[in-house]
Point group: C2
Chain length 274, copies 2
């Protein structure tokens, strides 16, 4: 799905993909920063727990954000496509200053939300200034093109990734999550090599990028973010390779960014922590 | 250990690190190419099986090279430091056109061979034109600085790699092996970040680089070679990071090279397959 167009007199909201397994019990650096961004005590946060098949995932996040000082938190139990058209859910979303998409299975998210009123509303609200965070599967679904599966390992391969249309909150990045922990460089490289027009971003667990309306992001959390920029790519063997062939990709740019580092997506420039 | 100096009127031999688990039963692309390089039917190959604790590792490679048409093959059973001073072994090495170092444990190799006559002779022979290949641990030991252990995963960390002095057959590369299969990008990045004066090369299984005397290498085999070039690095947080901190490394160059691709180490330039 495509990103919702800019709205006159509105600054877009932040988009905050989290690599999964963010701290929910200790200092909660990422979740606290998101809560503050959404207004702190005055924030109004809506949880979308659709990726998870566990009944209490949404409620757990309600309790976490309550503990972090946000009293207005609701979880919308969207469990099938018909739920994603319910007027009470759409109305509740209109009150939100922030939307949080939980982890689980990104194909559950895309198959239940894809093409529904809720999906369109999330995009429009983000364009109008509402901040949207997602962790694990909730991060994976954010881009226009989402990574939904693939091979593990460092090496790309022709069949090494499964792509599907995502929620379309950003069209300038490809996002992978649990990146260091699940050995996912190869599938990110594969995704980039199919069409090298996007920057690939691999986000470790307990790590997030806060993408601001100017398409700059800052790294927050305890892990690293791996940025693979194909803008300098001089050669790719993807089109000629057989399914099991090792691939060649020449002249990529690579950045490893930890907390405080930032990246300007339009300029393709990385900055160290101030 | 440092590389042996160039000898007048001698072209150096090739250095051929293999990422481990090279095909030994099918087409044997890598081993066949090495045998041919060493003179084919006229080759005289010496096996160094010291990395392995299995008694028959050397003999198995003797049989493989015999099967590939090389009749003059000997395995030197160097099992302790005193073996590495034996005159008969040193004399046998003088006949070699190629030396093959097997897999096993690279610390076994370095602790048994380090500082011995055999180690010095291998370096000198390579400087005089004898080709040296090594697989797995035998590849790891080739550089001046060898990677001998470390963390798995894509992310570098301050304590993420164990380095030790290697055999010193090349001083222009850091080499890691079983690269894709054992998820070793993080430890290669860590090794590079300690001192970004070397190119890092991660070699997949059944894959080799044939480094010629002009310090160009070609990729041979079924996997890929990951080249991380820190010559464009603009920032590293290594010196300030605590042991468990995620690291930042900005503006690295990354190449994924499959068979037929080549790389010029001095120029830091990658070329696609012709």
């Amino acid at each position: 799905m495509s990103i919702s167009p800019d709205l006159e007199n509105h600054t877009r909201g932040y988009v905050v993909p989290i690599g999964g397994s963010e701290d929910r019990e200790g200092a909660c650096v990422i979740l606290k920063k998101f809560a503050k961004l959404c207004g702190g005590e005055k924030a109004n946060i809506v949880i979308i727990p659709t990726a998870s098949v566990l009944a209490d995932t949404g409620q757990k996040y309600v309790e976490i954000f309550n503990r972090l000082g946000v009293s207005n938190v609701a979880s919308l139990q969207i469990e099938e496509r018909l739920d994603a058209e319910r007027q009470e859910f759409l109305d509740r979303l209109d009150l939100a200053t922030g939307i949080f998409i939980t982890g689980g299975n990104q194909l559950r998210l895309s198959t239940i939300l894809g093409g529904t009123e809720i999906a369109q509303k999330i995009r429009r609200l983000n364009a109008s200034g509402v901040h949207v965070a997602g962790t694990s599967a909730g991060a994976a679904i954010m881009p226009e093109h989402m990574i939904t599966g693939g091979a593990t390992g460092t090496a790309p391969s022709r069949g090494g990734v499964i792509l599907a249309p995502g929620l379309g909150l950003t069209n300038s990045l490809l996002i992978d999550q649990h990146f260091n922990e699940r050995d996912r460089l190869g599938r990110l490289l594969t995704a980039i090599s199919y069409n090298p027009f996007r920057v690939g971003v691999g986000i470790d667990e307990d790590t997030a990028i806060f993408i601001d309306p100017e398409q700059r992001f800052e790294v927050v959390g305890s892990g690293a973010v791996t940025v693979v920029d194909p803008s300098t790519l001089t050669y790719s063997s993807m089109s000629e390779a057989a399914k099991t062939d090792a691939l060649s990709l020449l002249d990529l740019k690579l950045h490893i960014l930890s907390k405080g580092c930032s990246y300007h997506i339009a300029d393709r420039t990385a900055y160290s922590a101030k």
